[in-house]
Structures are given as C-alpha cells and as structure tokens.
C-alpha cells in the first residue's frame, strides 16, 4: 500500500432541488483497502457512491472541496472525463442484478461490452478474457452463453461483478451487492469480494447490514441523514462505537441475541408500547404450549416449464403452539411460502392434512372453513401490496374489523384507533394512505389488520426482510410483546438465520420442500445434525461483538 490513498474525498455536498441529501462527506480509500459505507434507507449512501462516479443524476447539485482519484483532481470534471474513468478505472455493481443485466442479451455479451469499448482486443481474445473472468468469479465459462433470467440470483450477482471487473478497475463500488440474495449466495459473493480485495483491488462497499460489512471491510463509515457520523477501523467501530446511532444499529442486530431480549431502545412514548398483559383475554385461549396449528405430511408439487416437477412441499409436518414461535428457515425456493399458503388455506396440497385447534382445516371446502378463518392471521413481506390501494389506513382496518366475529378483536381494539394503538401507532395515522407511510409503519398497520379479527395464530412470511435493521428490531419487539399479551402462536418464516434464531422457540430447517431438521432453536444452533443446517450456519455472517449494555 502506497502512502497516498487511491481515492480521497473532502467536503462532498449533493443536493436535489435545494434539498441537501449528502452533506460534508469526507472519506478516503487506500489501495487494496475496503471501506464500507453503512446506513439505512435514505441516509445518502447510494447518492454518495453515485457522486463518486459522476453519476449523481439529473437535477443534482454536486459540490466538493477535494475529489482526488489516483493523483488526478476530479472536482468539476466533465462528462467526457468521467466516461473514461467509469468502467476502466472505477467499476460499479448494483443491488439487483436482474434489472442491471439486459434480459435479452447473454451474460457474455454484457461483459464483452466493456472490453469492446475500452480495449483493442480481438474478438477471440475478448472471448477468452470473458471466459477467464467468469471462471474467476466461480462461474462456468459456458455461462457466457446464458441470459440473466436463466441464472440464479447469486450467479447473476457474480456475473455482474465479472462485468464490473472486466477492465480490472482500481476501485470497485458495490451498492448493496448481497441484499437481494439468500444466505448461501450472499456468502459466495462476500467471499468473492474479499478475494478481489486480497488481489489488490480497492473496494467501496455500500450496505445497510453491519454483519455483511464486518466480514469484508477494513474500515467502516456510518452514515445517517446525509452525514458521516463516525468512521474508523471495522473492529473499533463495531466494538467500541462512539456515536449513539452506531450503538443503536449494533443493538438492533438480532444475531446472537437470545429469545426475549429487546432489540430496540424504548421510545419513551407511553402509547408506543402495547398495554399491559390482559389476563381476561387469555382465559379463552389454549394454554401456552398447546398445539393450535398442526400440519401432517403435506405434499405439493408444481410442474416446471420444460418438463419436470418442483417439489415445493414434500412430506412437510409441523406444529405451531399457543404463545410460542416456530421458526421456518430456508433458502429462497425451498418451499417455505408454499407451506405457508397451504396452512392459510390458499393452496391445496396433493395430500396431507392441517388441523386448526384440533379440527380439520385442510383439505376442506372453503365455505365450511371460512367461519373459522378469524382464528388464523397472516402478515407478509410486502405489506403495501396486501393493502387495497384505494383505501386509507382507517378504512383498511375497518374492513378487517368487519370480518371479526363478536368478541373477536383484542380488548380495547374494537375500532381502527384502538388497533393502531395496539401496534404502537398514533390513531391519527388512520387518515393516511399506506403509500405515504414508512416501511415500518406499513408493517405495523399490516399487523394491526391481521389482529383485527382476533386470531390465535399468525403466519408471518418474511415480515422483516424488507426493513432497515433498526425498524426490523422494533417490529420484532412488537411481535414479541403482542405474543406475550395475546398468547399468539407464530409461524415465523424467514431466510435470515439470525432473525429466526432471535424470535423462535423451535426451529424447522427447510430445503427443496423437505424439513431436514427441526428442534428447539438453541439445540439446532448448538448441535446441527443435518449437513445442510451446518452449511446454512456457516454461510450466515455474524457480528462478533459484545455490545451488551
């Protein structure tokens, strides 16, 4: 590493139409070093990265005191200068490879583009280079002939990195490169990035995930509200954070937090917490630990285009107990959501049965099932799409309350305002449209709606996957409170091992439609019996810090 850093930025400001989005950001990246820019949605981290590429966008106003790349001053550089740098000296990898890659062109041609534009290599030399790049990314040379849609998420992301690395740039900027991936694919991409850095490339990694960052980055900069709050070596920032916000972020990470520990700091607002436990309400519900939802030997398969059969559920049996949480974990496509749909009576299994409170539930004609639907609720990954787009929050909740049978809705939550308070929202939110709410508020509204008919069981399908870590912490805490208060049984589905571990009493690991292992959560984590569970555990990034306070 030479003395002068590869990239040095001092006093970067970016504004859109008079609104400052990035303010006074200063950072540097040494040669062969990885800097991670960590922040939640809207913190300005992506805008910062784009400004470093001269891509801040139309209508933006960029001002910078110093922008120095490899000894060249770039402040005020024109588009022509930027184009020479982009691709050849600075590469960019975006979050969603599916939209970043042209669906109609092969991966090989995508990678070839950069070579054709910036080098004088012959077609044969370029083809050899493309094959070499793909192989160095852990893909097969034959993958060059495939299109983005034919590759898995992890493969696509690696192909995208291959395209960004085609010209051997000095600096690679990766904007949330693993956010859309499941644990295994994420581990592969992280390995790859670590390998690139070891090979001498500099890396600017943008992420919301502290655990991901801790695995790769040398230094971390924490961003919030367009400013860098804190910057320093990864170990130092993670183990002895100086800023309160960093401590809050670290506390919100569920990895390694035992069940029942709070992840979010108390907000201090009295109405932000659900009310005290309601003894009367628990009278009618089954005692804690009693079975409420039982699935036996569920089988469901789908024909795959082009022949073959996908076994989405292959002899799945599981049991949700009152007041307890069963975690269901597995990679994308493992059949978790199909199982959830069968349990909710939205899909019909080829064979197998589900019982709700000991009574037959699946298979059953919808008409005889419907009166008991109030006992089973659901929340989803994307609450917004599950709301009627024409309705405001109040109308959505009123509609859900209309489904409740008498005495169904939880105590003190017989109207939209009461429901909103139950989930820690201001009743005034009833007049808002869901699209104007934040992600966390939307999920709270979704929980309120699910609770309106007074269910005893909630199926939570990836309920926090789309949320920032601090918001995720609040939602997980809320679900915990509601369980304690209402005696709810949860089936908690997630691809995120750390989250599942934090919320679950028991755990079931799913792969290719089969439950390969199940048992008490801590036992599964401590002594995983199945090799797939062990692989999942190894692939999951952890935050090795002690932040108990």
């Amino acid at each position: 590493m030479s003395a002068a850093p590869l990239l040095r930025v001092d006093g970067l400001d970016v504004g859109f139409g008079g609104t400052p989005v990035v303010q006074d950001v200063s950072l540097y990246i040494g040669r062969g070093e990885c800097l991670a820019l960590v922040g939640e949605s809207g913190s300005g981290k992506s805008v910062t990265a784009r400004a470093l590429l001269g891509l801040a966008g139309r209508g933006s106003r960029v001002a910078v005191r110093t922008l120095d790349f490899d000894g060249t001053n770039l402040s005020g550089a024109g588009q022509r200068a930027w184009r020479r740098l982009r691709g050849s000296r600075i590469g960019l990898v975006l979050q969603d490879a599916l939209v970043s890659l042209d669906p109609l062109r092969t991966v090989g041609r995508e990678i070839d583009d950069a070579l054709r534009l910036h080098t004088a290599l012959s077609p044969a030399e370029r083809a050899a280079k493309v094959a070499g790049l793909l192989e160095s990314m852990g893909l097969a040379a034959a993958d060059a002939g495939r299109r983005a849609g034919e590759l898995s998420g992890g493969m696509r992301q690696r192909a995208l990195i291959a395209a960004a690395m085609a010209l051997d740039p000095d600096l690679l900027i990766a904007d949330e490169p693993t956010t859309a991936l499941d644990a295994e694919a994420q581990a592969q991409v992280l390995d790859l990035l670590a390998g690139l850095r070891a090979g001498g490339s500099s890396l600017l990694l943008i992420s919301h995930d502290l655990a991901v960052v801790s695995a790769v980055a040398d230094r971390v900069a924490i961003m919030r509200g367009g400013r860098i709050l804190e910057q320093g070596p990864t170990d130092q920032v993670l183990t002895s954070p100086e800023h309160e916000y960093t401590r809050m972020l670290l506390r919100a990470v569920p990895a390694g937090r035992p069940r029942g520990t709070r992840l979010s700091a108390p907000t201090g607002r009295s109405d932000a917490r659900p009310h005290a436990p309601d003894a009367k309400l628990l009278d009618s519900s089954p005692s804690i630990g009693g079975p409420v939802l039982e699935a036996r030997n569920l089988v469901r398969a789908f024909p795959v285009p082009g022949g073959g059969i996908l076994h989405a559920a292959d002899d799945v049996s599981l049991r949700v107990e009152a007041g307890r949480t069963l975690g269901l974990v597995g990679a994308s496509g493992s059949g978790k959501s199909t199982t959830a749909r069968i349990l909710l009576g939205l899909d019909v299994p080829a064979s197998g049965t589900v019982k709700l409170f000991g009574e037959p539930w699946v298979p059953l004609p919808e008409a005889s099932r419907r009166p008991r639907r109030t006992r089973l609720g659901a929340i989803y990954q994307d609450p917004l799409s599950s709301f009627d787009p024409r309705r405001r929050v109040g109308a959505i909740l009123a509609d859900a309350l209309a489904a409740a049978t008498t005495g169904g809705a939880p105590e003190g939550a017989h109207d939209p305002a009461g429901l909103l308070q139950l989930v820690g929202l201001e009743p005034a939110l009833a007049g808002r449209h869901p699209s104007t709410l934040s992600g966390g508020q939307r999920q709270r509204v979704a929980i309120a709606r699910a609770l309106a008919p007074g269910p005893r069981v909630l199926i939570c399908d990836e309920p926090v996957s789309a949320l920032d870590v601090s918001v995720q912490a609040q939602i997980l805490d809320l679900l915990d409170d509601l369980q304690a208060r209402l005696g709810l049984g949860y089936l908690f589905i997630s691809h995120d091992l750390a989250v599942v571990r934090h919320v679950s009493d028991r755990l079931a690991v799913m792969r290719d439609g089969r439950i390969v292992e199940s048992g008490p959560t801590e036992q599964v984590f401590a002594e995983p019996r199945h090799e797939y569970t062990r692989a999942l555990l190894a692939a999951s990034p952890t935050l090795a810090t002690d932040t108990s306070d």
Binding site: F16, G17, G18, T19, V21, S41, G42, G44, S46, V47, G57, R58, G59, S60, L344, G345, L346, R370, P371, R372, R373, T374, L376, G377, A378, Y380, D382, S385, S386, F387, D388, P389, R390, D399, A400, A402, A403, R449, A452, P453
Partner: protein
C-alpha cells in the same frame, strides 16, 4: 430508497415555468372548459342558445357567420349555433349511454372470463377475439341493418362494438387481482367471496377501465355522429351533429359553415374527452 423521490422532485424543479401555466396543464384546462361547455349545453341548452333550433326563417337562409347568427344559418334559415348547442344533448347522451352499455356488457364478459374456469375463459376469449377482429363501426352498421335505424339502436350498436375492448381489459385486471396479495389478504381475513368481489375486486378492476372510458366517450360520440351522418341515427330536422354534417354536405361549395361548425363540435368533443382521459390516465399511473 428515499433517493428516488428526492431525485424526481429535483427534475421537476429543473424546468422553471410560471406557476400552473405549463404545457402539461394548459391542454387539460382548455379541454376541461370545452367539456364544461358541452355538458352545460346538454343540460341547459336554453341558457347558452335562447333561440329555437327548429325555427325556420327562409329569408335568412344560407347566411354566413354574423352578429345576428354567430355561426351562420342553414338552408331553412335555422340558426347553426343554436342547433349545435341543442345537438349536444343527443350526441353526448348517445356517447355516454353507449359507453355505459359497453362497460356493463364488458363487465359481465370480463368477470366471467376472469373469475370462471379455464373453459369459460377460453370461450369468452374467443368471442371477444371475433368481435375485436371486426371493425367497430362495421359491427354497429350490421346491428343497425338488422334492428333498424333510430337513437336506441344507435346506442346499442355503438355500445356493442366498444364492449370487446373493455371486456379484455377487465378480464386481465380481474385475473391479475384474483391472485394478488391484496385479495389473498382479504380471503385470509375471512371475508365472503361476495364482499371481496364487491369491495375489493370490482373497484380495483374498474379503476383503469373508467379512465379508459373517458377516452371512449369521445370515440362513441364520433361513431354516433357517423351513424347519423349515414342517416341511421337521429333523423332530421332534429338538431344532431352528424345529421347536420350530412345536410350541409350538399351546400359545401358555398355554405362551408353548415358543415364546418358541426364538424368542429364533434372534433372538440372527441379531443376534449381524449385529453381529459389521458391526463386522468397519467394521474392514475403517477399515483
């Protein structure tokens, strides 16, 4: 990410124009004024044109536009302006009624195809395709040839020929909505199928079609006028734009105003409904 919205706000501010007076606003504003005038003309023609549209004054026949007769007179000396204003009612009535009929029919077909099984969907789909293969006006002409001319048949004829297009859109909407998270959430809550259909499925499926129907009214007015022009709709001397066009055609050489102004009324109606429909569409997409 929050960045996207701030960027959009940025691009809007990049083009400073004086207040609401932008190209994107002027056209809808003019269209809205035109539509307002037409609706007033249809509801209370006496306010806008006190003269009797049927009053004959042979002495004043074939007068060009003047202070006494703003838009001139026809071969019997009837005031063209009054006839156009009074003609708005039958034209708009036929246009709106035909569109409503087309939508109603399309709703039945679209719901049957969207909610029914594979066979029903395929059956309705083929019928709609056959109807779409024939030009709409031809379909209307065939119907009038079978049922005889008149206002009622014009409405049914135009309604019939617009239905297949709407039906196809409603079917697609219903198909997409039926498996949407929103409808599944309503099912999980335990709502009855009837309630889900009435309160969630129909309103959401109809939204885009209603916007399209605004565009369709202009189209229906043009078609109704075309049928009257051919002598198959409203009969002369009743003031109807298509019939006025047909009457003026003979004298086009020396009394251009007899065809020009009724034609202008048809164009203005069609154009204003199109502009309004488009701006509604854009607003619906932007929301």
């Amino acid at each position: 990410m929050g960045n996207a919205s701030t960027r959009r706000a940025g691009t809007l501010r990049r083009r400073p124009r004086a207040g609401w007076l932008r190209a994107g606003n002027v056209l809808p504003a003019v269209a809205a004024l035109t539509a307002l005038f037409l609706v007033l003309a249809a509801l209370v023609p006496g306010w806008l044109a006190p003269a009797d549209p049927l009053a004959i004054d042979p002495v004043a026949a074939f007068r060009g536009p003047s202070g006494a007769h703003w838009l001139g007179t026809d071969e019997s000396g009837r005031d063209i302006y009054s006839r156009i204003v009074h003609g708005a009612r039958p034209s708009l009535l036929i246009g709106a009624a035909a569109t409503a009929l087309g939508l109603g029919l399309a709703l039945l077909l679209g719901l049957a195809a969207g909610l029914g099984g594979r066979w029903l969907d395929a059956g309705v789909g083929r019928i709609v395709e056959v109807l779409l293969a024939l030009p709409g006006l031809l379909l209307a002409l065939v119907f009038i040839a079978l049922a005889g001319p008149g206002v009622a048949t014009t409405i049914v004829a135009v309604g019939l020929s617009t239905a297949p297009g709407y039906a196809r859109i409603i079917r697609t909407q219903v198909r997409a909505l039926r498996t949407s998270p929103m409808i599944e959430a309503a099912r999980v809550l335990g709502h009855s199928p009837a309630r889900i259909l009435a309160r969630h499925l129909l309103p959401n499926a109809l939204g885009p079609v209603l916007v399209l129907a605004t565009l369709g009214i202009g189209q229906a007015v043009v078609w109704a006028s075309a049928l009257s022009f051919l002598g198959l709709g409203e009969a002369p001397p009743a003031p109807e734009w298509g019939a006025m066009l047909a009457a003026g055609r003979t004298y086009l050489g020396f009394a251009w105003w007899m065809t020009f102004f009724p034609g202008l009324a048809i164009v203005a109606t069609a154009a204003s409904s199109t502009v309004l429909g488009r701006s509604l569409q854009r607003r619906a997409v932007g929301a």
